[in-house]
Amino acid sequence: MTQSKRRLSGIAILLSLPFAASPALAEDETVNRLLASQCAQCHGTNGYARGDFEDIAGEEAGDLFEDLSDMKGEDRPENIMDHQALGYSDEQIRRIARYYASLPEDDPERQAGSEREGEVEIERAGEHEYEREYEREYEREDEHEDEREREEHDDDERDEDDD
């Protein structure tokens, strides 16, 4: 779907939502805040994600609603979000979408130019370290393998079931 079509259908959905056009109607924003905070484990505090996961703060409410509804409608839920979306009623999804739409798109902290405090990026260093160690282990293993193959002519079946 093109971006503009997507926006249009987003607006259409937004207009058809109860209360969406009249935020003055009392809806407890702290209830929405609590509900929406349950996305933060993966999408970051207030929807500002780290790594490759998607930022959701400042998204159009209609787009978020539509995306989550699409996930909910998958015939064969495949990924985590397809399942997560099934955990919420349409009304709850609307509340979550409205909440994140009310936040600025850019993390005010990031905007202020301040480095994010306390980096928690664990993977890159660990992964590389591991890869090196792993390669060494593979090399050792290859040596063993050669030795063994000389000793016994049996084939190594270990990786057979690897799929």
């Binding site: 924003e29 349950q38 970051g44 505090t45 955990g87």
Partner: protein
């Protein structure tokens, strides 16, 4: 007014805004002491400060100066990560959110009071207890020799070193035991069995991983783990259901089962049955049970008003996971902020929107992972949290994309908790 302050103001209903946001009116009278700075406690402390805009005083007490995450700690066993990668100090909670950090073991809890082992007393309006788990005693078991590695830290390194040093190149036996559910991280032990099989089959031939499960079947991601145990690792993993540990010979590394069988391993990893720590039992928070009963709309103890219990220590039927502990912590923080502002926690709109969720990624090999996820919601009639059945899902496959997503997921979860 800064953008940040305006945003936060918008989030608070007019009735509460004055008292919660202005801070002054609450600072003097509302003080929360959080005991335990793991996934539940650190999240409660952070969100209490963030959502009250600093209007509530929060003190976080942990016996350690930093928390070592159990999440991802199975990757320490194969050398992929080190404990330092999984250690989180409390400096961001202190500097960015204004949480007061106290290092010390807590020995007693009562309504409005926390007593440290040093004898120091901390008085407060609300106590939040988030001290995780402790283990049952097993005759003969000395965890300095037979590690559980189920609370991350020294124990994790001990098990890693034993695997490196005490497993022979070929024909070794690794024995692990799984406790009766509920235990922390339902897929965790099966994930560990897979990683061990992966480590050992790279090392040499003829290794076995003997899994003694006190439960009558695999407790989580059954499709995935059955495929791994009976497919990929069928020559290595020997999975036995309904086998409980009676005693352990910690020097000889022998597990004796309730049926009387002796199982010897070159390395033995016994994970004893869990319960809420003795601190909660002695403070009257468990009422004779294994875990602390709470009201899941607030996580207030059913036994001691004004004391809240979140994370693995509490008794609801939600899975004991770090993701879930973080999730519950937000419900608890919201409830305390409301209570402090004199607002109801039990109005219909709030109750209709109480949800929690969990996600676990399980490495199955050193480069591939699977996942499990679920959403829970409040049943407003029974007032219990219940699984939304359609939301429960597990990965169709273990693969490298999941493996990479596992690092994004943990990075975000760690940040939402500690940063």
């Amino acid at each position: 007014m800064s953008l940040k302050r305006r945003t936060i103001l918008q989030m608070i209903p007019a009735t509460a805004a004055l008292s919660v946001v202005s801070g002054q009116s609450m600072a003097a009278s509302h003080h929360v002491v959080v005991v335990g700075g793991g996934f539940a406690g650190a999240t409660v402390a952070k969100y209490l400060r963030m959502w009250s805009n600093g209007g509530i005083d929060v003190t976080l007490v942990d016996k350690n100066s930093r928390h070592v995450s159990c999440i991802m700690s199975n990757l320490v066993l194969n050398g992929q990560l080190q404990l330092g990668d999984l250690s989180f100090d409390y400096s961001t909670l202190q500097d960015k959110y204004g949480v007061r950090i106290v290092q010390g073991g807590v020995r007693r809890i009562a309504a409005g009071m926390v007593e440290l082992e040093s004898g120091d007393l901390h008085e407060c309006d609300y106590v939040v207890v988030a001290t995780g788990i402790s283990f049952d005693d097993i005759p003969g078991l000395d965890s300095r020799k037979i590690p559980h590695a189920w609370i991350a830290g020294e124990q994790t390194n001990l098990l890693r070193d034993q695997i490196r040093e005490d497993m022979p190149r070929d024909n070794g036996t690794f024995v692990m035991t799984i406790p009766r559910a509920p235990y922390r991280c339902p897929p965790g032990p099966y994930e560990r069995a897979c990683l061990l099989a992966d480590i050992l089959r790279r090392r040499g031939d003829g290794h076995r991983v003997v899994v003694l499960d006190a439960n009558d079947r695999i407790q989580a991601e059954r499709t995935t783990f059955e495929r791994a145990f009976y497919g990929l690792y069928r020559d290595i993993i020997d999975y036995r259901a309904s086998v409980s540990v009676a005693s352990v010979n910690s020097d000889e590394r022998i597990v004796t089962t309730v049926a009387g069988e002796n199982v010897h391993g070159d390395v033995v990893n016994v994970i004893p049955r869990h319960g809420a720590p003795g601190l909660l039992v002695e403070s009257g928070l468990t009422g004779g049970g294994r875990w602390a009963p709470v009201n899941p709309t607030t996580y207030e103890s059913s036994l001691i008003p004004g004391v809240y219990v979140v994370g693995d220590s509490q008794a609801t039927a939600q899975p004991k996971s770090g993701h879930m502990a973080n999730s519950q912590a937000k419900v608890c923080a919201d409830a305390i902020i409301r209570a402090a502002a004199g607002l109801s926690t039990q109005n219909r709109e709030r109750l209709a929107n109480i949800t929690t969720n969990s996600a676990c990624f399980s490495p199955i090999t050193a480069t591939e992972a699977s996942w499990l996820t679920a959403v829970f919601r409040l049943n407003t009639e029974t007032r219990a949290m219940e699984l939304v059945p359609e939301s429960l899902g597990e990965a169709h496959d273990w693969n490298s994309e999941n493996y990479s997503a596992m690092f994004d997921w943990s990075e975000n979860l760690f940040a939402d908790t500690f940063r």
